[in-house]
């Protein structure tokens, strides 16, 4: 089998907050079309890792490389113009959506493509229609975020990220703010994206979902990757800590 292109590489990533190390020597590689879930207890550094990968947080040391382009190396970041280009490679879906409340659903989706990527209005609208149809939100285009359920809002925020046609989509606990029913509706969307071979990195507490959707699962605790492998490998791990964590969640 031909080796797939590496889209994201994080090497020896270190990050501390006020002298407390939250990430120590993390290495992650994500290939094109791969779905990687990051699991682990709260405070294990999962979200910080995602925030470092999406340039929301500055890492203290280590490398961050997208499609062979170096965003950061040894804790030193590429110039702003370079980072601006690199940002186009990824999208991020937040736990609490962060939609723009003063924009309609449509405007939330088309504004960044038009203002940032200089896509024509026509093209941006076509993308929006397609995404809204795909995510089952066609009738909500002219609504404002507050008029939607949490699940619908999260789907809009997925559409907003996809409208910029990223190579990688990050999810930071995308269902943690939702009830089980709405969770199911968002997870369904992510599963469909996985079927289309969208490259995704998902921080989640939904074990069953992670098992079903992932090509690889990474288990983190106390700022280090304790174990990683296919869902089968992880769920039949010999590591007592991993077994405990997964076992508790399966109750």
């Amino acid at each position: 089998m031909a080796e797939k292109k590496i889209l994201l590489e994080m090497n020896h990533v270190k990050k501390s907050f006020d002298g407390i190390e939250v990430l120590s020597n993390i290495n992650v590689r994500v290939h094109e079309g791969e779905v990687v879930s990051i699991i682990g207890p709260s405070g294990s550094g999962k979200s910080t890792l995602l925030r470092c990968a999406t340039l929301l947080e500055k890492m203290d040391d280590g490398e961050l490389i997208y499609l062979g382009e170096i965003a950061a190396s040894g804790g030193k970041y590429a110039p702003k113009s370079r980072l601006k280009q690199i940002r186009k490679y990824f999208g991020l879906v937040f736990q609490s959506f962060h939609l723009f409340p003063h924009y309609t659903v449509r405007k939330n989706i088309i504004d960044a493509p038009i203002c940032v990527d200089k896509v024509s209005k026509k093209e941006a609208n076509e993308r929006a229609e397609k995404l809204l149809a795909q995510l089952g939100l066609s009738d909500k285009a002219e609504n404002y975020p507050y008029q939607l359920s949490g699940g619908q809002q999260q789907r809009v925020s997925i559409a907003r990220a996809l409208a910029l046609q990223p190579k990688i989509l990050f999810f930071d606990e995308p269902t943690s703010a939702l009830d089980p029913e709405l969770t199911a509706e968002v997870l369904k969307v992510i599963k469909e994206l996985a079927k289309e071979h969208m490259t995704m990195i998902i921080v989640t507490h939904e074990m069953q979902f992670a098992k079903e959707v992932s090509d690889r699962i990474v288990f983190m605790e106390k700022g280090v990757i304790v174990e990683e492998g296919t869902p089968e490998e992880l769920f039949s791990s010999d590591n007592q800590r991993v077994r405990d964590f997964i076992g508790k969640l399966n109750l």
């Binding site: 940002r87 186009k88 991020l92 962060h98 504004d111 940032v116 507050y146």
Partner: protein, 223 residues
């Protein structure tokens, strides 16, 4: 019955009060025109990353809010003569009032803007950043429209106070409505011109309160 006869007697005073009212309105409009944008600049100074700028803005706001507006009017009006021995002439009265009002109200507006900007959830900035908006786009497209909605009620408060504060121009003999009313009242030792002026202020503020309420309703299309 005396009150009624004097009421009819004072009906002709309306045009005169009206003239004063126009001057009051000039002070009001010009103050807003300068203080609203100036407040934004001061607010940015107050939130600046540069410590010196931040401290300067802080001191400015502190002094402007901590001393009486009447005193500030005096300082602006008499300052050039007392400090530099420059005679500005009576033509300087009106500009002095505008300067004093503008720098005073800018301080209040600055604090209102700052609290509005700082109350914005960080997630809005982060979402904009990840989507690739630059700093100016983030501020003008995402943050500012939401801040305007948030600061509208406190700005309305200040605006209503400003209408009443225009009467302080009386202290350096600018012939706005209160000055006119007081002269008329003193000339005939009658209270009615003052009550008439009060009615003008009240009705005008009523109009402001109602229009701002309308504007707030207009902005309630989102939450």
């Amino acid at each position: 019955m005396d009150f009624v006869t004097s009421l009819s007697k004072y009906l002709p005073m309306l045009p005169q009060l009206g003239e004063g009212f126009i001057v009051s309105m000039e002070i009001f409009v010009l103050t807003l025109l300068f203080a609203l944008p100036l407040g934004m600049i001061v607010a940015f100074g107050r939130m600046s990353k540069i410590r010196l700028v931040r401290s300067l803005a802080k001191v400015y706001i502190s002094v402007m809010r901590g001393t009486p507006l009447m005193l500030q009017i005096f300082v602006v009006y008499f300052g050039p003569f007392y400090v530099f021995k420059i005679r500005m002439g009576s033509g300087y009265r009106f500009p002095a009032v505008i300067i004093a009002f503008a720098i005073n109200y800018a301080a209040y507006f600055a604090e209102i803007y700052r609290s509005g900007i700082e109350s914005m959830p960080i997630g809005q900035y982060e979402a904009a950043q990840v989507l690739g908006y630059n700093k100016a786009q983030t501020f003008f497209k995402i943050i500012l429209p939401q801040v305007i909605k948030r600061v509208l009620p406190p700005v309305t408060n200040e605006t209503i106070t400003l209408v009443k504060d225009t009467s302080l121009a009386f202290t350096i003999a600018v012939a706005e409505m209160f000055t006119t009313a007081k002269q008329m009242a003193a000339a005939d030792s009658n209270i009615i011109p003052l009550l008439g002026a009060g009615a003008f202020y009240y009705v005008f503020n009523l109009i402001i309160a109602m229009s701002m309420e309308k504007l707030e309703k207009k902005l309630s299309y989102y939450r």
